[in-house]
C-alpha cells in the first residue's frame, strides 16, 4: 500500500488545533520534570500525585492512565471493556470510526464499530435503541459499548440531558459508556458544568481525556470512574508500547495542564475565538453555517470564490471527512484575535 503520511500540506492556519505547540505552563512543567532522576514507567512522584489531582477535579477516586496519543487512549479504553466480538455503537463521523485506521478493531481483536447516522454529529437515543440487540445469540456480535464524542466531530456539544439519556439506555441494556474527550475542555466550558457532571454523574464509565490539542505536546489520559472496569488495562498499555519508560514527562504535561485551571482558560479562549470567527462569517449572507458553533470548531459552506481566495492566502481549506463543500475551521488555545480578523478580511476580500 502506498501511504500518504507526508501530504506536504503546508497551509495549516485554522486547519486544526493540533498544529499548535504547548502552552507555557505545560512547557514549564516538562522543563521542571527534567531535573534529577525518577523511577520509570509511571512509578514517579509526578505520576503518583496526578491520580489525586484528577480525583479532586472529578470529585471521585478515579484511575488515570496517561498516554501520549488520543488514538491510543480511545483504543485502549475500548479494548479494556469490550470483548473481541463486541459491538461498539458510535456516530458514523466519530474519530474512532473514521480517523484511527481501525485502531479500536486492532486493540479489541476485532470488535465491530456500529456506525449510527445520528442527528448532525450526535447519536440519538432512538437510533441507538433500534440498533442494540441480539444479546446472547452466538451468531451475532454482542452489544458492549456506546461511545460518544464530546465535543462532537461537528463542533456541537452534547447537553447533560442528552448524555444522561444515552447512558441510561446503555446501562439498562448492560452496555458501558465511553466518552472520546479529545476536546473535553472545550465542551466543558461550553456547557459551563463540572467535569463530574459531564462524565460519571451523567453515566460515563470511561473517558479519553484529551490534552494534546488544548495546550500539551503529547498527553492524554484514560480516566476510569469505576475500578472494576480497569480489567487488563495495565498489561494492554505495556503490550501496545504505550507505557512510556520516562512516563513522568507525560504526567508532567498533564499536571501543568490541569493545575491552576490552565486547561479551562485555554479552552475558553479557543471557544471565544471560534465564536468570533463564526459570528464574523455568518454576517455574510453568502456563508452558511453547517452546524452551530458550540466549541472551538466552525463548519461553514462557502462560495467557491471564497475558498479559492483562502487557498491562495495559505489557509487550510480542505476537509476530507465531510463533503467537499463544507469547510472546517478550528481555533486553539493560542489563536490570536488578530488572526481571526485577518481571516475574515481575507475571506471577504478586503
Amino acid at each position: 500500500m502506498n501511504a500518504k503520511i507526508n501530504t506536504k500540506r503546508k497551509r495549516v492556519k485554522f486547519a486544526s488545533d493540533n498544529v499548535t505547540g504547548a502552552c507555557p505552563e505545560v512547557l514549564d512543567a516538562i522543563i521542571k520534570a527534567n531535573d534529577g532522576i525518577a523511577p520509570p514507567y509511571g512509578n514517579d512522584e509526578i505520576s503518583d500525585v496526578l491520580q489525586e489531582k484528577f480525583s479532586k477535579i472529578f470529585e471521585k477516586d478515579v484511575i488515570v492512565y496517561p498516554t501520549a496519543s488520543g488514538t491510543a487512549s480511545n483504543a485502549l479504553a475500548l479494548s479494556a471493556i469490550s470483548p473481541s466480538f463486541g459491538n461498539i455503537y458510535c456516530h458514523k463521523f466519530s474519530h474512532i470510526n473514521v480517523d484511527e485506521c481501525g485502531a479500536p478493531e486492532f486493540y479489541t481483536g476485532g470488535a465491530k464499530l456500529v456506525p449510527l447516522s445520528g442527528k448532525d454529529g450526535k447519536i440519538t437515543v432512538d437510533e441507538l435503541n433500534d440498533n442494540i440487540g441480539g444479546f446472547g445469540i452466538v451468531h451475532h456480535t454482542q452489544p458492549s459499548i456506546v461511545s460518544i464524542t464530546q465535543a462532537t466531530e461537528t463542533g456541537e456539544v452534547y447537553t447533560l440531558d442528552q448524555i444522561r439519556n444515552i447512558s441510561e439506555i446503555a446501562h439498562k441494556k448492560k452496555l458501558k459508556v465511553h466518552m472520546d474527550g479529545a476536546r473535553f475542555a472545550n465542551a466543558l466550558v461550553s456547557l459551563d458544568v463540572t467535569p463530574a457532571e459531564m462524565t460519571w454523574k451523567s453515566g460515563i464509565d470511561i473517558l479519553s481525556f484529551g490534552a494534546t490539542k488544548n495546550g500539551c505536546i503529547a498527553a492524554e489520559a484514560i480516566i476510569i470512574f469505576n475500578k472494576e472496569l480497569v480489567g487488563n488495562l495495565p498489561f494492554l498499555l505495556k503490550r501496545s508500547g504505550h507505557l512510556l519508560s520516562k512516563m513522568r514527562f507525560v504526567s508532567a504535561q498533564l499536571d501543568g495542564y490541569i493545575s491552576n485551571d490552565v486547561w479551562l482558560k485555554n479552552a475558553r479562549h479557543a471557544n471565544l475565538m471560534a465564536k468570533k470567527l463564526s459570528d464574523g462569517l455568518v454576517s455574510s449572507k453568502q456563508v452558511k453555517l453547517e452546524y452551530p458553533t458550540e466549541a472551538n470548531e466552525v463548519f461553514v459552506k462557502l462560495p467557491k470564490k471564497m475558498v479559492e481566495q483562502l487557498i491562495t492566502e495559505e489557509y487550510m481549506m480542505s476537509n476530507e471527512e465531510f463533503d467537499g463543500k463544507t469547510v472546517r475551521l478550528v481555533t486553539s488555545w493560542n489563536t490570536k484575535e488578530k488572526e481571526v480578523e485577518e481571516f475574515l478580511k481575507t475571506i471577504f476580500n478586503n
Copy 2:
C-alpha cells in the same frame, strides 16, 4: 489480573538509564520546536529534514519513522516484516521476549518468538542454524526474522563479524534481520565503528534506533534500510496510536540528539562511567563480574552484605530479569564521576 505498574520503587540510582531526563540539547530542541504552527502527523519540516539527517548518518537513503517508545519501535518493526505465523528468533533474555508483555505477538497477530539460549547475551550462529527450519510446511510457523539486541541485555556488544555471520545465515535462508538498538549509541562507540558498518553493511534490514535512554524524553525511530520492507508500516503506526499528532516534538528530540554528535558524546560518557564502575568493583576479590562491561551496563555478583548495604543507602539493587544474585548497574549520559565514587565507597563500606 492485579498489575503492579506502581511498584513504589524509589531507589533508582544506577537502576537504569531510563531514570534520567533529557540532555540539554534535546530539551532545547523541544523548546525551539514549540514556536509557531506546523502540520501534524509528521508532515512538518523538522520531521522532513530528519529523513535526510539520518540518511547522512547511515550513508544510505533510509526511511525513518519516529515513535515515542522502544516497545512500539520493536513491535512495529517486527510486524512490518513478519507474517502472523512467523518465527522470530531471538535471545531468551531479549527485551522483545521478556520485557514487552508480548508486544511483538500482539502487533504481528500472533507470531512466535523462538527463544535461543545463546552464549551469555548473544545469539550464536550454530544455535540459530539448528533452529531455523520447517520452511513451507503448513503445520509449522515459518522462519521470518532474526532479532538481535545491540548492546545486548547483558551489556555485551556484538562484534561486526558476529553481526555479519548472523545476517549471512538469516539472509541465506530468506529471513530478515532486525536490530533492537535500545542502546545503539552505547554499542556504536564501544565498537568505534560507523552506524552504517554496524547496521546495513553488516546485514541489518531494520533497526529500532533507541534515543530515550541516552538523552531524550520519549524518542525512538524505526529505521528501514530497504524501501521494500516498509510494507504497511505507515498504517500500522497509525492503527496502533503511535502516529502522534504533534509528531514534530518527537522529531525535534531526535534532531537535537543526532545533531552535533550529541548522541555519541552522551554514549561515550555513559560507557566510560560504566567502565570506571566496573573496574572499581572488580578490584575487590569479593565481587565477580558476570559479563564483560562493554557498554553502559555492569553485571556483578555481590556478597549478601554488600547488597544489604546498598539497599540501605538508597541504591536500586534488584534485578528481576536474571537470577536473584546478579546485580545490574546502569550508567547514563549524565552519571557523574563522583556518583560512581560514592557508590564504590558505599559498597566497600568506608
Copy 3:
C-alpha cells in the same frame, strides 16, 4: 457472557436449508472414501482430483481449499486478500456482517465491514461508489474488498449484469471481489448460466462455494480464480484449525456433490419447491411477498393469526435477522411437494 447456543428450537420445518441431512450421492461418497488408508491433510487422491473437477466446472484452472464450514470459508477467503486495516464493503444484511459473530474481523485481524443499505438484499453500484474512498490516507481504513452474496440474504439473485457492474467499479479502484456462495447452486440454476459466467467471467476473484445447505454434511470450498490471490491461505487454514487431518472426507462430499450434476439437480428441486410455496402463499390477498422468490427462500408478511397457526403446528416461524413481521421460509434439496401442500393447508387453515 451468557450464550444461547442451545435455543431448544424444535420447530424446524422450512426453517432453513441447514436442517436437512446429506443427499444419497454425498453419503455414498463418504462411505466409499472410508475404505483403506490415505495421506492426511488433503494430500489424498480424492482431494487431488477435486482440483481438476472444479477446474473443469469453472472452465479455468482454479485453486480449491475445502473447508467444513461456511463461516470459515468466508472469513478465510477475506483474510487472504484483506490487510488488517482493510475495508470490506458488504450489504448490511449479509451473513458476514450479521451472522458470523465477527469472524471476518477475527480472521483479518480487525478489518472493517462497511455495511451498505442496498436495494432490497443487493448492493447498488451508486452506494458502493459513494463509499469507496480515502485511499492511501493513513488515518482511514483502506478499501480492499467488495463482498456480495449470491443468492442474497433476501432470496434474490444478482443478475450477471449486476455482478459485472459491481466488479467493474471494484477493480477500477483496485479492490478485489468476493462472492459468498452459501447458496451458489440455487442462484446458478435460477439464472440458468454457467459457473464461469456467474463468477470470474463477471469479475469474481474469490468464491465461498457452499455445499452444506444443498446436500452435504459439512463441506464448503474456497475457490480462487487467480493464483496470485492465494497469499498465505494454506497457513491461515492450518492456523485456524480448518485443515482437517482426514480432509478426504470433506473432499469426498464435494466430489459426490459436484459429480453428475447432483448439485444442480438438488438446487433446481429446492428452487421449484420455493416457487410452488411462494405461488401458493401469494394466492391469498392476506399474504404479502416481501422479496421476489428467485432461489430457495420465500419472504412473506403474514397476518398474526396465520403466524400463530403455524407455530402451533410445529413450523418454524421466527426470523431474527429482519423485522419481526417478516417470515422466512426455506426449501431444500429434499423438500417434498406434499410438505409444501401441507404447509399451505395449515396456513390457510383448512
Copy 4:
C-alpha cells in the same frame, strides 16, 4: 509464501493414525443421523444427549463443545482461559507448539507458548516450577496455563501421579491445566484408569478430547470440568467458524465413538499392535527403542539400510518433528496383526 499442503506423500502405512477412516460404529452413527431434519448449530437431540453421555463417562457434569478438528479444540480451549498476554507452558515437542502453525497464538490474540525441554516427552515439575514467574509485573507476559499432552508426542503416558503433581503446582500458582488428549483413549487404556481419574480428579481443568485418530472422521470435543471456565467459548467457536451448522453429524460421530466402549476397544487394539510392533523391533540388536512404547506409537532408531528397505516397500519413513534418525511408527484402531508381521518381515529383510 510457498506452502506445501500437497506433499504427495504416498507411503502412509504406519505413518500416523490419521490415515485411517472411521470405524463401523461411527460410520453407522453418521448414516443414522442423516434421517430427517434437525435444528442446526448443535441444538439437535443427538448433541443434547451427548452432554449427558459425556457427563456419565466423566462422573461429573461436564460441558462439551464438539469440534471438527484437534487444532481447533486445542486453540479454542486455550483461548477460553488465557488472556492475550498469557504464558502457556508446554513441552517443546507439543503439538500446540510445533504442529499447529501458531493456532494457539492466533486464537488467544498473541499469548506466548513457553516451551519446556522436559524429560523425554514429558514436562517435569522442577522445570515448570523454575519457569513460572513474573506475576503482576506489567512488563512480563502472565503465567496462565499449563498444557500437557496425553499420550505425549513421544508415545509415553503421564502417570496419574505425574499429572497430579503438575496440576498441583499450576493450581497453587493460580494457573489452569489443559490436556491435549488427541490420543486420550490410547493413554487411558494404557494406564487402565477411569476418564475421571485421568482428568479432573488429577487436576485437569479443560480437555481436548480426541476422537478423529481413534475411529472418527472429523470429531473432537472440548470438555470443560468447571462451568466457570466456559468464558466466551460459545462466541469464540462461532467466530472462528467451528460451530458447524449441521453439528449433529459431529455429535453423532462422538456418540457412536463413546457408546458401547467402542473408543476403548479401538484404543486397546491400537496399543496392542504397537506393543507387538515394538517387541518385534527390539528383538533385533540393530534397533534401538527411543522411548518406551506406552500407547500406539513406536519410536525407534534404525540402521540406514533398514530405513532404505522400508522406503522401497512403500512404508512411511520420515519424521520431521524429531531428528532425522528417529522413526515414528503409529498403529491404529484397524491395524491388522498381519500388517505388523509384514512390516517386521520387510524390515528384517526376509
